[in-house]
Symmetry: C2
């Protein structure tokens, strides 16, 4: 009998997401590792026992001062993993919404010096305390919607020192907001305005100076690049990604979001860890991603928030055999912080099944951010990050539009609402 | 100095929505009746004083046992009014989601005996306690997202006695859930299966028997009809709406949702109180609605939840001069209960500005359900229904996708979360 600090009983359905070592949406999602009439026990922040309630009860006892919680027949799933965010920035761009309503596109707004470039200006000039003050509440709202692990990209400084400063602040953000954060260096988010006529000089800096420092100091797990006309070409992108690989950093690519430019094919060619957005990637390139084992990180709220007619290719990727993960893409352009809302868009817009959406928001997203050893599944020995919903089954999280958790636990502690 | 029970100070922005007697989105929405650095005071469940904090403070004092709340610089808006719901039903249709993902349309699912007809079967056979038990939690979740007044349609019984039973249960629902509910008789939601070959016989029953009883017993404020090929023809719809008018009931029409059949034109011709959905209504018919003063009740989540390529004509209606109101259309087909989510869809899909979306979800929706005398605006003498958000301005409610209230008050009492 193991002594435990937390015992959650009365779980109508526990979705462990222990669905095999290779996360492949479509093949593995239907089962979700479901356990009915389940319980879980936590010791020192780690799952100690998980399974049918009568078995868990037989294997543990509550330590003195421990807590027993009745889930009331609700659903427990792993804490969500948000595989793609631009949450670290200063200022906002609510003012651009009316331009979007009148039909301006993301690329048009950016070309006019707004959009991303506006956020770059505001982020460059923000003090570190200001950056933290603005970003922590966003992360807290993500957490309160059930996200316990999130990727965080740099990318709104676009200078060596500025990008390093952003990456340095990510551990502080994690500590203050109370989530696990996976840092990604996205110096190649856009060509900095002062390098508009000499973009290769900026690529030189990224490749020769920043990536080596990021790797040496362990400031990021991944390097990402925005491969799109007007941003970085496939050959510039390849140069950056190869430098990242040489530095033993993981690789991601913003590919084929607005216009088809071969980003997904490049991802497959290089066998990057993941490729993201992929709205315009054709069937041939989906097949290449599948063969190369690249995870597709889909961001189904982004075309909605951008008022784009495109939709995330959820069904298409699953049918092509590509592992699919989900992210919010939270950014000044996409003000969504809730993974349950992202999951609903994955269903109603990208046509994943609810079970596929849940898989994509947990175990697959954990793989996509290199955190599958600690996040995305519920199993003895894993960090006790889980979310309780008052729903009749785990499939209903994405079926209902905007499901709200009843309770979120991180490392076995209940996350207290900030309000 | 009036003695008050509740004083809310520190409101960064109060949007009173006192934007004139005729709510017209577009003309009136930009201002929202904004007051900066505001306060409000409540006495006996009614706003006693509303305005700049220093003026409110000067005009009231807190009664013994009264409560002072600091809004912390947040935003206060009227409790939302959800102008169109099918929230009263038994069972659910989560099982149909995978059919929709594979491309089945609402009309195809209904034609195969699923969809609405499945809910009719389950609702007919449900006991009244079961109906209440299933519906109250939905209404509570609506309330917890900020909705304090909602229209509720009958329509899942399709028999005289069954529809009467549904309408009779609405006051009980209101009492148990703690919202103000406006009942609408939608016996003409679909032709009942047992009348498939004799639809006019059902129209006879609606017109000759049920509408008179509904009117005599005060069971509904409105009569609604689903005018769509396969449901009710424009001439059947006209017959029903004229009967409603003769019985001094308000009139609504589900018009031009899937296929253009002239429902909006009929609404304009009859000058119904409102016309709803309107996804396929052409510009000519929008102009007719404007001239007739018919309010367009738009349901922007519905095409999303139906996986339809159509979008609610928000911008088009406003530009045509039609007053626009919003509803969730919560139903087994459209599992959304949050008006902030509806408002975000109104912006990102239907292209209303955030201020227009807020107007459409408050004062205009109150007009659409005949409740403008008591809901939708914040003013002395009105029921003290209001919502507090931790946002820098009222426009941000719809800008952020899935804004969550910090607190909801109904009749001056804070709504306590059920969890």
């Amino acid at each position: 009998m193991t002594g435990v600090d937390l015992l959650v009983i009365g779980i109508g359905e526990l979705a462990t997401l222990r669905t095999g070592p290779i996360p492949r949406v479509g093949s593995a999602a239907s089962e979700l590792g479901r356990v009915q009439n389940a319980a879980l026990a936590v010791r020192n922040g780690v799952f100690a026992s998980v399974g049918p309630e009568r078995l868990v009860r037989r294997s543990v006892h509550l330590r003195k001062g421990g807590t027993e919680v009745d889930a009331g027949g609700g659903v427990v799933v792993p804490g969500f993993v948000d595989a793609h965010t631009h949450v670290l920035y200063a200022g906002d761009r609510a003012n651009e919404l009316e331009e979007k309503i009148r039909g301006a596109t993301y690329l048009e707004i950016a070309a006019a010096g707004g959009g991303l470039y506006r956020t770059v200006r505001l982020t460059r000039r923000a003090t570190k305390p200001q950056l933290l003050r603005e970003t922590v509440p966003r992360l807290r709202r993500m957490l309160e919607a059930g996200t316990t692990t999130a990727e965080v990209k740099s990318g709104y400084a676009l200078t060596h020192a500025g990008e390093i400063r952003l990456l340095e602040s990510i551990p502080l953000l994690a500590e203050r907001a109370g989530l696990d954060l996976v840092p990604t260096y996205l110096g190649a988010h856009a060509v900095p305005p002062e390098r508009a006529t000499t973009p290769d000089r900026y690529v030189d800096e990224v490749v020769e100076r920043t990536i080596p420092e990021v790797a040496r100091r362990g400031l990021a797990q991944f390097v990402d690049v925005f491969c799109e006309p007007g941003f970085f070409t496939p050959s510039q992108s390849e140069r950056i990604l190869r430098a990242a690989m040489a530095a033993h950093l993981g690789t991601k690519i913003h590919a084929d979001e607005f216009v088809y430019s071969g980003g997904a094919a490049l991802a497959a060619h290089l066998a990057t860890h993941s490729a993201e957005h992929l709205l315009t990637a054709p069937a041939d390139d989906r097949a290449k991603l599948a063969r190369a084992g690249v995870t597709a990180v889909l961001l189904p709220v982004t075309p909605f928030a951008s008022m784009s007619p495109l939709q995330s290719p959820g069904r298409e990727m699953v049918d092509a055999g590509v592992p699919v993960a989900l992210g919010s893409d939270v950014s000044p352009n996409s003000p969504v912080e809730s993974m349950p809302i992202v999951m609903a868009h994955a269903v109603y817009s990208a046509r994943l099944t609810p079970a596929e959406a849940l898989t994509a928001a947990t175990v697959n997203a954990a793989h996509a951010v290199g955190a599958a050893d600690r996040a995305g599944t519920i199993a003895a020995g894993r960090s006790a990050d889980f979310v309780l919903f008052d729903l009749p089954s785990a499939d209903r999280i994405a079926h209902r539009i905007g499901s709200l958790p009843v309770a979120i636990y991180r490392r076995g502690n209940r996350v207290s609402p900030t309000k």
